[in-house]
């Protein structure tokens, strides 16, 4: 895991790729995907925090000292579930929005909403 290309840095790059997607895309579906990429990047970052390559999975009760830190792993399962449910809600809303306004463009939706 040495060098500049390690999981931590890759997840940070991924996070800002996602942020770029949020900033530059007017398509709602792409926004949802981009936010998801940011979420996944943050989860990847947290899972690999303070991790060394020689660690073993935290299963069983032998050799506890060599085990990876179980706390981030436990927390990130929660974060993944939350990410899925939030995405599900936003896609549901998007379907309704698309049916009503007939566009998936943030700007066009704003104008159609505000101008009646």
């Amino acid at each position: 895991m040495g060098g500049i290309i390690n999981v931590q840095n890759v997840s940070l790059v991924l996070f800002f790729v996602g942020l770029y997607g949020v900033l530059s895309n007017r398509n709602i579906i792409k926004s949802i995907i981009a936010v998801n990429i940011m979420d996944v990047a943050a989860i990847l970052f947290l899972i690999t925090v303070n991790r060394r390559p020689d660690q073993i999975p935290p299963v069983g009760s032998e050799n506890i000292a060599a085990m990876a830190d179980p706390l981030p792993q436990a927390l990130m399962i929660t974060a993944i579930v939350i990410g899925i449910s939030v995405t599900a809600v936003s896609i549901t809303l998007f379907i309704g929005l698309f049916r009503r306004h007939g566009t998936s463009d943030w700007e066009k939706v704003v104008h159609r909403v505000d101008r009646g």
């Binding site: 900033l23 926004s31 809303l93």
Partner: protein, 546 residues
């Protein structure tokens, strides 16, 4: 000390509403409604007992599941969170009573409402940043569904915008949690506070702090990130009760998290002055935008932004009096803004429009509602003997005396008066010709609760000193208790009001530029850019100063 006093567990005010929500979902709506009122009454009692306990024996800690602090989940209630828990329960009780006869109180709505209360209270109790993340996401989903509850036209867009913007902010928060865990190896508030103070190089705090404060600032509606707030709080599809709930309580959760973040890392980094400026800018831009609005609910929503700025000024003023003044303003704002939204909903329904220019003469047409709204306006503008004057006075005296900062409080209050001078035009005059509309039966619950809110606003104003000493651990300044400065305050109030009315009549009401400002609509991308910009500014500020 009796046993009841000591035996209320901290998780009770969280578990009770959640269990009640789940059980009630399967019974008839009428039964559910009464169950809710009973539960809310019990909740107020529990919160009052807990507050009394915190004030007598100090912070209460409680471990869930018997695990030790860094691993186990810890709940705590201290002098900052206890009054807020009481505030949440009181406002919820009043709102549920207000809604007693409303048709939208179906099982789904009530289920969401009471679950939201449980989640909000657990946000005040939790001591762990990851729990904050989970609970905030949960709040986001519940609030989104509540915003969309009445299926109005722009509804889906408002909900979508709020949801996406919140998720985006919480992605920042999650990455911030990652940096916290990498730096400290713990996620509980006390562990972070202790280790942050012991750090050799505070620059390690910059990234986690900046990421988390951006997310929390979005939740609280700070300057460049409040674009979602009016759309969510004033959504045509949201029942006025939901608007009251969001503006009165929901944003305060963001402010509360900001306080915690400052305690954990902000003090080490020295960002108080930065957020004092952000608070001032938020307050000023809030009232400037509020003046431009024509929609009765949008005016109130932008005024919330302005008041949040004022609360931030108090919290970051750097003195105890200013801090607790800000806390009192959180309570006061919850009361008068909830009342304003509720009465605005009644007025808009009676007149069949939300356009401020088309509503006239509410005082003749609905005297009781207008009287309640008038009390709220007086509280809002800081009239003497009303609650707003107490907290604004405390915030002002918390700022360094004789500096320009104290003048800014007058500026913000002048702006508030300008907004509500315009708002108060609906009270006077004659109702239009189209009064032949069929009037529904008078609902005693809505009017009664509106007057109760008004009474609370007046009571906090009249008994400011005692209320302060019951709620907060701070000695009120002597002049507040004795009322010796009442004359001076009355003169200042009258002077500012006069100036506001004159500026309104000869300036604001004739400006054409207001219409153009109102047309500006920032889309999701614009808001995301503003939020990234805020993150960038915080980062630059910290890298330069720390």
């Amino acid at each position: 000390m009796n046993t009841l006093f000591l035996s209320v567990p901290l998780y009770a005010p969280v578990l009770l509403p959640v269990v009640a929500a789940a059980v009630g979902y399967f019974v008839h709506t009428r039964v559910y409604k009464h169950l809710l009122i009973a539960v809310q009454a019990v909740q107020v009692g529990l919160a009052a007992i807990l507050l009394a306990r915190v004030r007598t024996i100090g912070t209460i800690f409680e471990r869930l599941g018997g695990w030790e602090a860094p691993v186990g989940i810890e709940l705590a209630l201290d002098e900052i969170s206890a009054p807020l828990v009481l505030l949440v329960t009181v406002v919820f009780l009043l709102l549920v009573l207000f809604n007693y006869r409303k048709l939208y109180m179906v099982n789904t709505f009530q289920f969401l409402l009471v679950s939201l209360q449980g989640v909000m209270i657990s946000l005040f109790l939790t001591r762990d940043v990851f729990n904050v993340y989970v609970l905030t996401e949960l709040t986001t989903i519940i609030v989104t569904v509540l915003i969309l509850f009445k299926r109005g036209k722009p509804a889906l867009y408002n909900g979508m915008l709020y949801l996406m913007f919140s998720i985006l902010a919480m992605a920042f928060f999650l990455l911030g949690i990652g940096f916290v865990y990498r730096t400290f190896g713990v996620l509980d508030f006390d562990g972070i506070t202790g280790r942050a103070a012991a750090l050799d190089n505070p620059r390690a705090l910059i990234l986690p702090y900046a990421l988390m404060v951006t997310a929390v600032g979005m939740k609280a509606g700070l300057l460049p990130m409040f674009g979602w707030l009016p759309r969510a709080h004033a959504a045509p599809s949201a029942p006025s009760m939901v608007s009251a709930l969001l503006s009165g309580l929901q944003v305060k959760v963001g402010i509360y998290l900001f306080i915690r973040l400052q305690q954990m890392m902000g003090l080490t980094l020295g960002t108080t002055g930065f957020f004092l400026v952000v608070g001032l800018l938020t307050a000023v831009s809030g009232f400037l935008l509020a003046i431009c609005q024509r929609d009765i609910k949008l005016v109130l929503a932008y005024s919330t932004v302005s008041q949040i700025g004022l609360i931030m000024i108090g919290l970051t003023s750097g003195s105890l009096i200013g801090f607790w003044g800000g806390m009192l303003h959180i309570v006061n704002h919850a009361l008068f803004k909830a009342l304003l939204f509720l009465t605005a909903g009644l007025i808009a329904k009676e007149y069949g429009t939300r356009n401020l220019d088309e509503i006239r003469g509410t005082f003749r047409r609905m005297p009781l509602v207008t009287a309640a709204a008038f009390l709220a306006v007086l509280g809002m503008t800081g009239a003497p003997f009303f609650n707003g004057s107490i907290s604004k006075y405390l915030i002002e005296s918390g700022l360094a005396a004789g500096t320009r900062w104290q003048a800014t409080i007058y500026l913000v209050n002048f702006g508030t008066m300008l907004v509500f001078t315009r708002y108060a035009t609906i009270f006077f005059g004659r109702p239009g010709a189209e009064t032949g509309r069929q009037r529904g039966p008078v609902d005693p619950w809505t009017r009664g609760v509106a007057l109760l809110f008004g009474a609370a606003i007046l009571a906090i104003g009249l008994f400011g000193g005692p209320v302060m000493s019951v709620l907060f651990p701070v000695e009120s300044p002597l002049e507040l208790v004795s009322g010796a400065t009442a004359a001076g305050k009355a003169i200042a109030f009258a002077g500012t009001l006069g100036a506001a009315v004159i500026v309104y009549l000869f300036g604001v009401s004739r400006l054409a530029v207001l219409d153009r400002v109102r047309e500006i609509a920032i889309s999701f991308n614009g808001m995301a850019i503003l939020m990234s910009g805020f993150l960038g500014v915080v980062l630059v500020f910290l890298f330069v100063t720390v």
